[in-house]
């Protein structure tokens, strides 16, 4: 068990290190402050979206609406939050509460999360089209400044990813509420028997997912300075892949925030790496699928070995 739990975080770290080494070998000039900044430019929103997805997977559900949700947040950020900050903020808070309500509803009525979130992806996407029928909007200045700040030693994207990893690690792994939330994924019934309201806990997990989804959408607008209704649709797949790459399991509340952030970084890097390989853009999507399968194969081999010893 000890060996296995160590492998769980080891594998994502090794995958990222191998990919990073390969990238530096292909393109030594990437080994600099600006090189790293370019490589990991879009890592922050992807990492935040992956954390959001992890909150849902932690309680044994899956969120197929996250990409549409992040797009909607991006559209609100680029319009309402810019023009009328108070109204924009109120809308974002409402969205987070909406997410929590969704979690409570899924639990109370025993609905299949996969169908509900698939339906919600249409709702979020429709609202986003409603707010921003054509690409446009602009980033609030403070957000732009925050996302393009240049800290010493390491680029913003790397520093921010480390911060996200540390904060969520304390929230999910170290804190009391995080432990109980993982318990919902591990054994719902025993958590309920211990006197916790599973309804509230599920609402809490979904609310956290909504919160990190909102952060992801805001970070994305800070980087791209504009938004459109389809800006983040691929985040649904990326975030699921990131959680799994980071050593998360689909059931049982076995998730790792640090791993999830590393998984998101690996996926971001994979896109840059493939363009260094001069691989035709046709294969970019497929290569992400192939990397996912490869890492899962590696994990299977590791866990088999772990099981034998």
């Amino acid at each position: 068990m000890n060996a296995l739990s160590r492998y769980r975080i080891l594998l994502p770290v090794v995958s990222l290190a191998v990919l990073l080494a390969a990238t530096f070998w292909m393109q030594p000039r990437a080994m600099s402050y600006f090189g790293l900044n370019l490589l990991f430019n879009l890592a922050v929103p992807i990492a935040l979206a992956t954390i959001a997805q992890m909150m849902i997977i932690m309680v044994n559900d899956i969120d197929l609406s996250l990409g549409a949700f992040v797009s909607l947040v991006a559209c609100i950020t680029a319009t309402y939050l810019l023009d009328t900050p108070a109204l924009g903020l109120a809308m974002l808070v409402t969205l987070i509460l909406g997410y929590a309500a969704l979690g409570a509803m899924i639990h109370a009525l025993e609905l299949p999360a996969i169908v509900v979130t698939l339906g919600m992806s249409f709702v979020w996407g429709g609202l986003a089209l409603f707010i921003l029928p054509s690409p446009g909007g602009a980033s609030p200045d403070w957000l732009r400044t925050l996302m393009t700040v240049k800290p010493p030693f390491a680029p913003m994207a790397v520093v921010a990813s480390i911060l996200i990893a540390i904060l969520t690690h304390f929230l999910i792994i170290r804190s009391g509420i995080g432990t109980v939330l993982r318990g919902v994924g591990g054994n719902t019934r025993s958590v309920a028997r211990a006197g916790w309201s599973v309804l509230k806990l599920k609402a809490c997990a979904y609310g956290l997912a909504g919160f990190f989804g909102v952060l992801a959408g805001m970070a994305l607008v800070g980087l791209t300075t504009s938004a459109d209704a389809n800006i983040a649709l691929r985040y649904t797949l990326l975030s699921i892949a990131g959680v799994i790459l980071g050593g998360g399991e689909f059931v049982g509340g076995k998730v790792s925030p640090v791993g999830a952030v590393i998984g998101a970084l690996t996926l971001t890097l994979a896109a840059s790496f493939l363009s260094f390989l001069r691989l035709s853009p046709d294969w970019q999507i497929g290569a992400q699928g192939a990397i996912l399968i490869l890492v899962l194969t590696a994990r299977l081999i590791f866990s088999r070995k772990g099981g034998e010893t």
Binding site: L118, G119, M120, S121, G126, A128, L129, G289
Partner: protein, 311 residues
């Protein structure tokens, strides 16, 4: 009373109600055309929905997310092979079905050999199919052969040909589910996999054939859809992910598996098309249409779950 207890009656009543509401707007004009269009477009949703139904029947966690990518890949390769030449319709069909078979084999290999949850396996595989389709398509829009396009858009006994294909497939699936050993095995596996294995059901064989069937159905749907709409497009399958799952759930099959409902899938397919055309004829904007479609799907899932609670 006995009729009301049939799960499929709900999706058919909903379809009928939407039909009346839409026709009410035009005060009766265009009823025939609307029914015809619903049968044509509903057929594609029904074909992929039947496949998805088989997979969902396998039990919790079983769902095929690679349907859109398989549809696109099958359609792209089939149209490329036919190259708009006459007399190649059968060749194209064979290729589309073979692509479906290949995709199904690949999906199942990932699920079985790598022990992946079906959601992740089909998701990862669908990314690769999508890339293959982009690579082989290169933005070209090859027209289907003349006679195939005529077949796909044509009618027989005033019912669209594609609807005949969908109906025939539904009958076959119904007979297999209700009357064959394999169908009983599938239901048993979905109800309790452990018990089924102990009872001597070849679980892995059932799972393999189910994942093969859904991909072959997706290949067939892609082939027909591309012939119907005059060519394959890279996003042609996109809407069929939600659609395939929604028609299964709305149709009265249990999302938890072990209970499937063939007539309900057809009723739900008609309903989904009619809802969208109703919103169109009431002049809803694209955004509002999406919001309403999503809300209706969720509302029906909620209604279905509370109905179950009462029995």
């Amino acid at each position: 009373m006995n009729l009301l207890s049939k799960p499929w009656i709900w999706s058919w009543s909903a379809a009928a109600l939407t039909f009346v509401l839409t026709i009410g707007l035009t005060s009766g004009r265009g009823a025939g055309e609307l029914a015809y269009a619903a049968l044509s477009f509903g057929a594609f949703a029904a074909i992929v929905g039947l496949g998805q139904m088989l997979v969902i029947t396998l039990g919790p966690g079983n769902v095929d997310l690679s349907i859109p990518a398989t549809m696109t890949l099958a359609a792209t390769l089939a149209l490329k092979a036919m190259a708009s030449m006459p007399g190649t319709a059968l060749l194209g069909l064979m290729i589309a079905l073979a692509v479906g078979l290949g995709a199904g084999l690949a999906n199942y290999a990932l699920i079985f050999l790598l022990r992946l949850p079906p959601i992740i396996a089909t998701l990862a595989a669908s990314l690769i199919y999508q890339s293959l389709a982009i690579w082989s398509n290169r933005g070209l829009r090859i027209k289907p052969p003349q006679e195939l396009a005529e077949f796909a858009t044509g009618r027989f006994l005033s019912i669209p040909n594609v609807a005949w294909v969908g109906l025939a497939l539904a009958v076959v699936v119904w007979i297999v589910l209700e009357r064959s050993v394999w169908g009983r095995w599938l239901l048993a596996t979905g109800q309790n996999m452990r018990a089924a294995r102990l009872a001597g059901v070849p679980i892995e064989f059932v799972r393999a054939t189910t994942y093969l069937s859904v991909s072959v159905f997706a290949g067939l749907a892609g082939y027909l859809l591309a012939s119907f709409s005059g060519g394959a497009a890279l996003n042609m399958g996109a809407e069929y992910l939600l659609m395939s799952i929604a028609v299964v759930v709305i149709g009265g099959s249990s999302i938890a598996g072990g209970n499937s409902n063939v007539p309900g899938v057809w009723g739900a397919s008609l309903f989904m098309f009619l809802v969208i055309s109703m919103l169109n004829s009431y002049g809803a904007a694209a955004g509002a249409k999406n919001v309403l479609t999503g809300t209706i799907v969720i509302a029906i899932v909620i209604a279905a779950s509370t109905r179950k609670g009462r029995i």
